[in-house]
């Protein structure tokens, strides 16, 4: 298969970026999207950008920087906006699970980084997601030290609750929900953690403080507000439901009412 790629190139977080156009040939439909980018990079290194690129005005030379790691959809490192969709034209996947068979031969594919004020581009397609760590540091845990905990089976958890908690805990922290939200809201990300812990007896003790502090941190870091468009749920690679946002709202309100 042959493709034309329009890729966002940006030297670093301070300079402005622009699109560069490349063409790539003889890609097997079974190749993954990131492997296709590997092949492009190999060509850019071997032949130099001038030969591979269409538009000679391409300011950014050399291979394209993109984040990736596990390549099996669980680490949450890959983060591409492909043809206007977070993680590309398929549902319930991360970019590394996207295969070229999802495109048509000869397609033009536009590849951009996540775009959100709270997640700035650091180079080409890679963004800084420190803000997500900071939100979790504000309370996304159960406050127990190592050691001195009771036997695991002394805390029974109803199976349905454990399963629902697991649904939310499946979040990989990729940031697709934020990138796809027109407000740049991190509500689904925050809700996934708050809800996962609120459903379990272990997490109940700190639920009020957790909800308040994580929401406050999210606001402080410049994420937008939620207007219930549900775009986040549509693009979440782990199909995390907006029902968890409803639970976050309840947790937050209950906590505020108690104040």
């Amino acid at each position: 298969m042959d493709f034309t790629l329009k890729i966002w190139r940006q030297k670093n977080s301070r300079e402005r970026g622009s699109f560069c156009t490349y063409c790539i040939k003889d890609i097997s439909p079974d190749t993954s999207f990131l492997e296709m980018l590997d092949i492009l990079n190999e060509q850019l290194i071997r032949e130099g950008s001038d030969k591979v690129a269409f538009n000679q005005g391409c300011r950014q030379q050399g291979p394209v920087v993109f984040d990736h790691d596990c390549r099996e959809g669980i680490c949450g490192m890959c983060s591409l906006y492909i043809n206007g969709r977070a993680h590309g034209p398929d549902s319930e996947i991360t970019t590394c699970q996207l295969h070229m068979r999802k495109f048509r031969d000869g397609d033009t594919i536009t590849i951009e980084p996540w775009r959100s004020a709270a997640m700035p581009v650091i180079k080409d397609l890679a963004v800084e997601r420190n803000a997500l760590d900071k939100i979790l540091q504000a309370g996304g845990y159960v406050s127990v030290n190592t050691g001195g905990v009771p036997d695991a089976n002394t805390i029974p958890v109803p199976r349905e609750k454990a399963e629902e908690s697991m649904d939310a805990a499946a979040c990989v922290g990729c940031g697709a929900c934020i990138a796809t939200c027109k407000n740049g809201s991190a509500m689904l990300f925050v809700a996934a953690r708050v809800s996962s812990l609120a459903l379990l007896p272990q997490g109940k003790i700190e639920r009020a403080r957790r909800a308040k502090e994580m929401v406050a941190k999210m606001d402080e870091l410049g994420f937008g507000s939620c207007t219930n468009t549900r775009a986040c749920e549509m693009e979440c690679p782990k199909k995390i439901s907006v029902a968890h946002i409803a639970r976050l709202n309840r947790e937050f309100l209950k906590a505020k009412l108690k104040d």
Binding site: N12, S28, D38, G62, V65, L200
Partner: protein, 647 residues
């Protein structure tokens, strides 16, 4: 026994060693802990749990990871589960049985006392994770559920769907985040360790490269803990994440830490087969699938022909024409034999011409019987996400057609040699998790990597590191302007400069792929003397070519992923040679290390306990062959036996 390798194994009966040791080791008072700095490199299960626990104790911890967040570490990809000797299912499990299974699974090439301690703390790990809110699978009564893994006849594996590693890591990452918010741990992301700094014979710091700006940075401490995982990516195609690398282990080796059993690499039997030359990595299908999946190939050559022609489907082959070869060869354990045994059995069938895809390198993992017995819904509940993952990659629906699988490199049992305190041969340098060699011998059992990572990080290192640090409370904070830092940093900068100045023709991946081919062919599932010698000579040639013809584009002072890869592959090209050298000296077959010259008439491993019952620990010697030291293993408590999974 080499005098370099004093294991510090405590005296006494097996069940009392750890308790006695804990009583004997020194402790550091809370006021003094505040004065002591510890560097932890890596944030997988071992690194994150260690950093969090050490922070809780009051030490000043600095933690480093190569990704944008500690949560990306590759522990996150572990699917199936974590073992513990809870005996919740009442199937007669015990600490001793878990210990025994692990020693036997490792083919009697691990240290008895360490493995027993691992089994002993396993139960506390489950308690800890549950208290953190890890959503393990539960039965309707609200209590924890278990499943079985290879090499065990009991159900002792705790799991969170097919995402157990993710959930355990999120637990440890939560504990780490809590300490970061309290200020006891400082986290440095997108930093890659490039060297270890030794002052007066003690590990006192590290040099890292800031992966975004390209700057080298110096960090000092009273002790350095490496938790950087294994070196499976030497093989290029593996189930490891793309950024997982053995470079830190290699740097420590070159600074004097001994590297034990480098040839012990685990080949996992159930991975999605290679599809072509453009492939970058292999995807694992969890071992838990072998609870309900049955592995087979056709009995008849004509069916193989038709399958490759795609004129029939696997599901059309009648039951009597299927060879469930694991059930046939190993009736007692069936599909749940250990990984090395299952991998070799798949290779044997494919070598005999029964591989089911075009490349001849695939066998079936079939859920037909389980779906008939339990219904599709139950299978979906148990393995839904794995089935979905399989379908996304292969475009085949595994509920209708069997999965195609083939063995792939997955884990490395070898690693830095450590004593009972998890300290390497360099004072003040500790290695935990997959980065050390201690617990899995020649083969790791499924669901034991998560157990070991968390055991080391939560419950072992926090005790044993105190024994070292208790003497260091008078030692002032290290000055990072010390000449040792200057010198080490300069050496790294020179190496980077040298890489850029080659300006050759081929990208880094070209060399990495070539190295992978050599390793898989000669240092893979079956090894022999001629092949290993060939591997060593080919790796040397390739290394020479690399330093003449690699092309690292761009500059150092920028986000440069090719430079990152180049530095790692430069290390892999040295490491591969040591792996082959180690495989060459070990003239026996044991666990995942299968020497073709040493096998039983029916193709099983043939161990040599008289000559090879030791850990081979290699010492780096500049410009010379590395020197071999041996830690002899004495089995006081288990009786050596031939691993038998047949009856």
């Amino acid at each position: 026994m080499s005098d370099k390798l004093f294991s510090k194994t405590p005296e006494g009966p097996l069940g009392e060693k750890w308790t006695n040791h804990k009583t004997a080791v020194k402790v550091v008072s809370p006021a003094n802990k505040r004065k002591l700095d510890i560097i932890v490199v890596g944030t997988g299960l071992a690194g994150a749990s260690a950093a969090a626990s050490l922070g809780e104790l009051g030490y000043n911890v600095k933690v480093f990871c190569i990704s944008d967040s500690p949560r990306r570490a590759h522990s996150i990809a572990a699917q199936g589960g974590i073992n513990a000797a809870k005996n919740y299912p009442n199937d007669n499990d015990s600490v001793y049985r878990l210990f025994y299974d692990t020693i036997k699974g490792g083919d009697y090439r691990s240290r008895e006392a360490n493995v027993y301690r691992l089994a002993e703390v396993s139960n506390t790990i489950i308690d800890q994770c549950v208290a953190q809110g890890v959503p393990f699978a539960r039965d309707y009564g609200g209590l924890l559920d278990n499943r079985s893994f290879g090499g065990a006849q009991v159900s002792r594996t705790f799991y969170a769907r097919g995402q157990t590693g993710q959930q355990l890591l999120l637990g440890a990452y939560g504990a780490l985040n809590r300490q970061i918010s309290k200020g006891t741990v400082k986290s440095y992301n997108r930093r890659e360790m490039l060297d270890l700094v030794i002052i007066n014979g003690q590990a006192r710091g590290i040099i890292v490269r800031n992966l975004v700006t390209g700057e080298t940075e110096r960090y000092g401490a009273h002790a350095v803990v490496v938790a950087t995982g294994g070196y499976g990516n030497v093989y290029f195609l593996s189930t490891n994440a793309m950024n997982s690398n053995g470079s830190v282990v290699w740097q420590c080796y070159k600074r004097g830490a001994l590297f034990a059993n480098p040839c012990f690499a685990q080949i996992h039997p159930t991975c999605i087969p290679v599809h072509g030359e453009q492939q970058s990595k292999l995807t694992l299908m969890s071992e838990s699938l072998r609870n309900d999946g049955r592995i087979w190939v056709p009995k008849k050559a004509e069916d193989i022909f038709k399958l490759r022609q795609k004129s029939i489907k696997a599901s059309q082959i009648p039951e009597e024409d299927r060879d469930y070869y694991l059930e046939r060869r190993y009736p007692a354990f069936g599909n749940l034999v250990p990984r090395d045994v299952a991998s070799r059995a798949a290779k044997e069938r494919c070598d005999a011409g029964f591989g089911v895809n075009e490349t001849g390198r695939a066998v079936y993992l079939d859920f037909k019987t389980a779906i008939e017995r339990l219904g599709k819904k139950v299978i979906e509940e148990r393995y839904g996400n794995l089935f979905q993952m399989y379908e996304k990659i292969t475009d085949v629906n595994p509920y209708e057609e069997p999965m195609m699988i083939y063995p792939a490199i997955h884990y490395t049992m070898g690693g830095l040699w450590v004593d009972y305190n998890l300290q390497t041969t360099v004072p003040g340098l500790f290695a935990i998790g997959e980065a050390n060699f201690s617990d899995h011998g020649g083969n790791r059992l499924g669901a034991s990597a998560l157990m070991q990572g968390l055991a080391d990080g939560y419950f072992i290192l926090p005790y044993t590191i105190g024994d070292y640090l208790a003497d260091k409370i008078q030692l002032p904070k290290v000055d990072t302007n010390d000449p040792a830092f200057e010198k080490t940093e300069k050496e790294i900068k020179d190496k980077i400069h040298r890489l850029f100045s080659i300006k050759g023709k081929e990208p880094v991946d070209y060399f990495h792929k070539k190295l992978g081919h050599i390793m898989w062919e000669y240092v893979g599932m079956a090894r022999n003397e001629a092949g290993l010698r060939k591997a060593i000579s080919e790796i040397r040639d390739l290394r020479e070519e690399f330093w003449k013809n690699v092309n690292i584009p761009g500059e150092n002072n920028e986000f440069n992923q090719e430079l990152e890869k180049g530095l790692r592959v430069a290390d892999f090209l040295e490491m591969g040679e040591l792996m082959a050298l180690d495989a060459l000296q070990r003239r026996e077959s044991c666990g995942g290390h299968f020497r073709e010259e040493m096998q039983t008439p029916d193709g099983e491993t043939l161990r040599d306990d008289i000559n090879f019952m030791y850990a081979a620990a290699w010492e780096y010697v500049e410009n010379q062959e590395p020197q071999l030291h041996k830690e002899d293993f004495q089995y006081e408590f288990v009786k050596l036996a031939i691993r038998n999974y047949k009856e």
